[in-house]
Each structure stands twice: as structure tokens, then as C-alpha cells.
């Protein structure tokens, strides 16, 4: 059981002398295995919320629980270790390492794990097979289409069996056909592995895949569907 609880999160940024409130008392509870979309216009606080849930940033105030463990106040090293063990990321620009092959990009996610052991070949190949790109394992990112690159990114996020995968606009750089494929794979992985997925999007088609859609505006949750 790994539920996530966001409790009264506030995030302020200082721009010159002005303090800008990016998130204003955001609270939500996410059950393990959920498939949740965070939607809203630009500047509504979607990415800031994802960054905080993903332990990349710390809130100005509030709490973030993974089950009973409150990660707010953790130092950098502890947060890094937490992300390493529990959170996978999928980026809008894929962010693959260009000099590594598909296989090695996925392997990288395991190589940075302090508990890394060398018998991971089967694990990497299994996940590549699940996202349907095992036959491309020796290709470099420049030899792949956008949709294929995002599948590599999904495999990379999932290979370490995280409790949570965060995807910031995962289909923004894809055409509608590839976007649909990527969402279907993410949904399949969510169901097969019972991994929680939280993704931000503007795209209505993408929102339709989600169990719940949380709408943000001006740093507040305005609607949950």
C-alpha cells in the first residue's frame, strides 16, 4: 500500500521583491494504482505541483505523505534517495541520453540505484517488451520516432518498479496517433504493474484516459472530475 497525501501545500516564489504564490493550500489524496491527470491553463501551477509531489522541490508550507512518511523537510540527499527508490519521471522532451542505446538508457535507471546488481538484463528486456520496443533495444535515440522515444522514457521510468510515475505533458511533442499509443501504454502499465501515474496535460484526449482529472487555476484546485 503506498497512498500519497498532499496536505495544504503552499509554494511561493520570489521574483525580485515580489512574492508569487504558485500553489495555494493544495490538498489531495491519491490512492495506489491511480491514473490521475492534472489539468489547467499555463501558469496554473501544474508543473509546480508535479515537482513537489516528485520530490524535486520543497513546498513553502504543507505536508506530503507517502503512506505515513512525510517527505517535507528532507535534505537533498534524502530526497535524492527517495526519488531513486520510489519515483519515475517521464518528460515532455523525452530527455534520453543520446550516446546510449535504448537498452542502455533503460539500464541507466538501474545503474544509479545503490542496490544495483548486474543481473538486470532480464528486467530491462521485460520492460522493453512490455512497452513494445524490445526489437529496438540496440538503436540510439536519434534513430527513433517521437512515439518510440517516449516509450523508452516510459520503460526507463518503470524498470525500477517505482510506486509513482510522474509525467509532465508526456504527449505534448507527439502527434495524436503517437499520443494515443503512449497513453494506452501508460494506462496498460498502470493496470499491469499497479503503479500510480500522475500526469499534467492540456490535451482533452489525454485527460480522457485518466481515472480522475484535477483542474488547477491560479494555484488552487478548482475541480475534481
Amino acid at each position: 500500500m503506498q497512498d500519497i497525501k498532499v496536505e495544504n501545500i503552499v509554494k511561493d516564489y520570489k521574483v525580485g521583491d515580489v512574492v508569487v504564490r504558485a500553489l495555494n493550500s493544495v490538498s489531495l489524496e491519491i490512492k495506489k494504482g491511480s491514473f490521475i491527470s492534472i489539468a489547467g491553463p499555463s501558469g496554473s501551477g501544474k508543473t509546480t505541483l508535479l515537482n513537489i509531489i516528485g520530490c524535486l522541490d520543497q513546498p513553502t508550507s504543507g505536508n506530503l505523505y507517502f503512506d505515513k512518511e512525510n517527505v517535507v523537510g528532507y535534505d537533498d540527499n534524502k530526497l535524492t534517495y527517495f526519488r531513486n527508490q520510489n519515483i519515475g519521471f517521464i518528460f515532455q522532451d523525452f530527455n534520453l541520453i543520446p550516446v546510449l542505446t535504448v537498452y542502455e538508457n533503460v539500464e541507466f535507471s538501474l545503474a544509479i540505484n545503490p542496490k544495483f546488481n548486474r543481473n538486470h538484463k532480464k528486467l530491462v528486456e521485460e520492460i522493453l517488451d512490455m512497452v513494445g520496443i524490445l526489437d529496438l533495444k540496440n538503436r540510439f535515440p536519434k534513430e527513433l520516432s517521437g512515439g518510440q522515444k517516449q516509450r523508452v522514457a516510459i520503460a526507463r521510468a518503470l524498470v525500477k518498479k517505482p510506486i509513482l510515475v510522474l509525467a509532465d505533458e508526456p504527449t505534448a511533442n507527439l502527434d495524436s496517433e503517437n499520443a494515443k499509443n503512449v497513453m494506452e501504454i501508460m494506462r496498460k502499465m498502470n493496470r499491469d504493474l499497479n503503479t500510480t501515474f500522475i500526469f499534467s496535460t492540456h490535451d482533452k484526449l489525454v485527460m480522457d484516459y485518466a481515472d480522475d482529472v484535477i483542474f488547477l487555476r491560479d494555484g488552487r484546485i478548482v475541480e475534481k472530475v
Binding site: N51, G54, L56, D57, D76, N77, T80, Y81, F82, R83, N84, Q85, I87, G88, F89, F91, D93, N95, I97, P98, V99, L100, E104, E107, F108, S109, A111, I112, N113, P114, R156
Partner: protein, 410 residues
């Protein structure tokens, strides 16, 4: 580990041109380091060999008035009669290969027109030949020489523009303080490569020297050659026990004579080391710059890695491996080139006779400079080059972990 080495290798060749430019000063620095130490080690080795083979043997028994600093040669001051007990000790010692007596004095050599100041050595040819290698380098082959015959260094021959069988005159002061001269016939010359022998030394028979100086049984020194496996220090210890009865005598080893060579060698190594250190610093700055540029170019990638949970040590390790790999590749090429150069220097050497001429360079070597070929030195230079790579990349690598993740992910 293999994963990170593979990744570092792939990363450094993202920009091949930049990496190659970075490698050049490292290659050059390591190559120079190896070449310089090969040359200096070779010079040191040949200098010491030249000293032992042609000037000092393993050690000398001298009068206590003999001083290395002022190098007095006056037979009245430094001459001595070798005690029978010492002769017996030397004959019976199983550590002694051979020994010989020398009478050394200064004088002028003249062909009637020109005059050259020279060092005259009165020697017992047979025992001298066993103790020194001087006559292995003689032309024509000299079997013995009698009173009235002389052998000179090759440069003296050139100076007078004469051939063997020429008649020459030796002028010097006798032990009584009067100037005298005697006629001699040149029966050969030696070309040892040791400037002190080739440029200034004239060999006469010890009997002729004694007669001329009127010193009867006195000698300037006894040169002793030890067997190859004999320890100089053990022998000196044994000899000192015998010598305790003769307070007017002392031992001077080849190491005592070589103090100037050692001082010059360490000074040259030090100054050469500074120059090469500067070159390697330039190489290090090149590596640091390459790593820093690479970090700036790969900020987003670094951000992704850190977001995925790559610990700081992993990011540091990645860039330090890249720096180390540049250092290692540069060092390997530098070791190869430096190794080939030192092999050439060891086998063939460099002929500097045209450059040096009559100059005194501080080493008892006058023409061919030979290097040494020492695999351990080559390996040490390679390790040093790699270490420069590690050191140079460490500071820029810290830049990669100091940036805010969210900022570099944008």
C-alpha cells in the same frame, strides 16, 4: 563500473574535435616527461659509468690531505707510500677485482710549437688495464708502454694535429720544485667519451713519472675496482678497520666523486620538472575546460539524471571518469611516443658533439647522449597524466551538482 567507463568513453567522443584538441597537451606533456627523465637518467647513468670506468674506479685510497673540493695534486702534499699490510689486504680480499697505482700531476704537453696544459697520469699499464676501461678505447691497440712512451686523449691528438709516433715534450715541476722536461713518443690515443680523459689526460708509465718527479715509491692514489656483486659499503667497512692504523690515509668512493653529477642531475630534474609540470597544468586546464563545456551542454541531461535519483557521487563520478579517461588516453599516446623516443635514445642516442664542442656541461660526457628505457618511469608518467585528468575534472564536475534541478530541467 563497466557501465560508467563505457558511458564516459561515449561522452568524451560526443565532440571528437574538442577531445582531440584537449588530448594534445596531455600527450605532449607525458611524452616530454618520459623523454626528459629518460635523457637525464641516461646522462646520469653514463656519467657515473664514465666516472667509474675512466676516473675513479669503485673507490680510491688517498692521503688524508686529498680534498675533493680543491683537488690538490702536489705529490709532496698528497703523495704516500702504500703500506705492505694494505697491499696484502687488497690482494687477499675476495671483494677486490683489481687495483692499480696512479701518480697524477699537472704539466704542459708541447710539440715544439704549441703548448697544452694537461693532466699527466703515471700508471702501471697492466694493473691499470684491469681496473679501468680506458685502454679498451685505445687506437691503435696498446699492449704495453715503456719509459718514454705516452698515450693521450683523442682531443689532444686533434689539437696538435699529429699522428702516432710523433715526438712530444712534457714539461712540469718536479717534487723538488724545479721545472724540467722529458721527451716522449706518442704510441696511441684513447677515445673514451669522457671529456676529462679525452681533452686533458696524458698517460705515461709510473716508473717514468716517479723518476721525473723524483718520488721513488710514492703514489697519488690507489684505485680499487670491486667485483660486480661486491657491496661498496661492506668493503669500505672492512677496509676502514685496516686503515684505522694509518691515520694519514682515507678512502674516497666513486659516490663521493659523483657529488657534482648528482647535484647537477637533481637541479636539471627539478628545473625540467617545473617546465613539464607547467605543460601538464596547461593540459589539466584543457581537460577542466572541456569538462565544464560538456557540463553546460548537458545541463538538461544532468537534470534528468538527478531527477531520476542519481546521487551526487554518481554525477561526480561520471565527469571525473570522463576527465580521467581523457587523461588516460592522452597518457597512453604520450607513453607510446615517449617510450619510442626513449627507446631510440637508449639504443642510438643523440650526438651533441657538434653543439657541445669544448664546453663543459657538468657531466663527464662529451658527444653521444644516451637515454634510459625504464618501463616503470613510463608507467609513472602515464599514471601522473591520468591523475592530472582526475584532478582537473573534479572541480568542474562539482558545477554539475550545484545547480538547481528544476532550473536545469527547463
Amino acid at each position: 563500473m563497466v557501465f560508467w567507463i563505457k558511458l564516459a568513453f561515449k561522452n568524451i567522443f560526443r565532440s571528437k574535435q574538442r577531445t582531440i584538441l584537449t588530448l594534445i597537451p596531455v600527450i605532449f606533456g607525458v611524452m616530454l616527461l618520459i623523454t626528459m627523465f629518460s635523457l637525464l637518467d641516461g646522462l646520469n647513468r653514463d656519467s657515473i659509468n664514465n666516472l667509474i670506468n675512466f676516473e675513479t674506479a669503485s673507490l680510491k685510497l688517498v692521503s688524508k690531505n686529498f680534498s675533493l673540493s680543491d683537488k690538490k695534486l702536489d705529490i709532496n702534499e698528497i703523495g704516500f707510500i702504500v703500506p705492505e699490510e694494505i697491499i696484502k689486504f687488497l690482494i687477499n680480499s675476495d671483494m677486490v677485482e683489481s687495483f692499480t697505482y696512479e701518480i697524477v700531476f699537472i704539466g704542459n704537453l708541447s710539440d715544439g710549437l704549441n703548448k697544452l696544459p694537461v693532466l699527466i697520469k703515471g700508471i702501471d699499464f697492466n694493473s691499470y688495464k684491469k681496473t679501468y676501461k680506458t685502454f679498451d678505447m685505445s687506437f691503435s691497440k696498446i699492449e704495453n708502454f715503456d719509459a718514454g712512451s705516452i698515450v693521450v686523449g683523442s682531443d689532444i691528438l686533434k689539437y696538435f694535429e699529429i699522428n702516432t709516433d710523433s715526438l712530444l715534450i712534457i714539461q712540469s715541476r718536479t717534487s723538488g720544485g724545479t721545472f724540467d722536461a722529458f721527451d716522449t713518443k706518442l704510441i696511441g690515443y684513447v677515445s673514451t667519451g669522457n671529456p676529462n680523459i679525452d681533452r686533458t689526460t696524458v698517460f705515461v708509465s709510473i716508473d717514468q713519472a716517479r723518476n721525473f718527479l723524483n718520488v721513488e715509491k710514492k703514489v697519488s692514489n690507489v684505485s680499487i675496482k670491486l667485483k660486480k656483486n661486491g657491496s661498496l659499503y661492506d668493503f669500505v667497512k672492512k677496509f676502514d678497520k685496516v686503515l684505522s692504523k694509518y691515520p694519514d690515509l682515507k678512502l674516497v668512493t666513486w659516490e663521493d666523486f659523483a657529488f657534482e653529477i648528482k647535484a647537477i642531475d637533481s637541479a636539471k630534474k627539478y628545473s625540467g620538472g617545473i617546465i613539464i609540470f607547467v605543460i601538464l597544468i596547461i593540459g589539466g586546464v584543457g581537460i577542466a575546460n572541456t569538462i565544464l563545456l560538456s557540463i553546460y551542454e548537458r545541463f538538461k541531461e544532468i537534470g534528468t539524471m538527478r531527477a531520476m535519483g542519481a546521487p551526487n557521487q554518481v554525477i561526480l563520478k561520471m565527469f571525473v571518469f570522463e576527465g580521467a579517461l581523457i587523461g588516460l588516453i592522452g597518457s597512453l599516446f604520450g607513453m607510446l611516443l615517449g617510450g619510442l623516443i626513449s627507446l631510440y635514445l637508449y639504443r642510438v642516442g643523440l650526438d651533441f658533439s657538434g653543439v657541445i664542442g669544448d664546453m663543459d656541461i657538468g657531466y663527464p660526457i662529451k658527444s653521444i647522449f644516451r637515454g634510459s628505457f625504464n618501463l616503470i618511469s613510463i608507467l609513472q608518467a602515464g599514471i601522473f597524466g591520468t591523475f592530472i585528468g582526475v584532478l582537473a575534472s573534479f572541480y568542474p564536475a562539482r558545477r554539475a551538482i550545484r545547480e538547481n534541478i528544476i532550473r536545469i530541467l527547463k
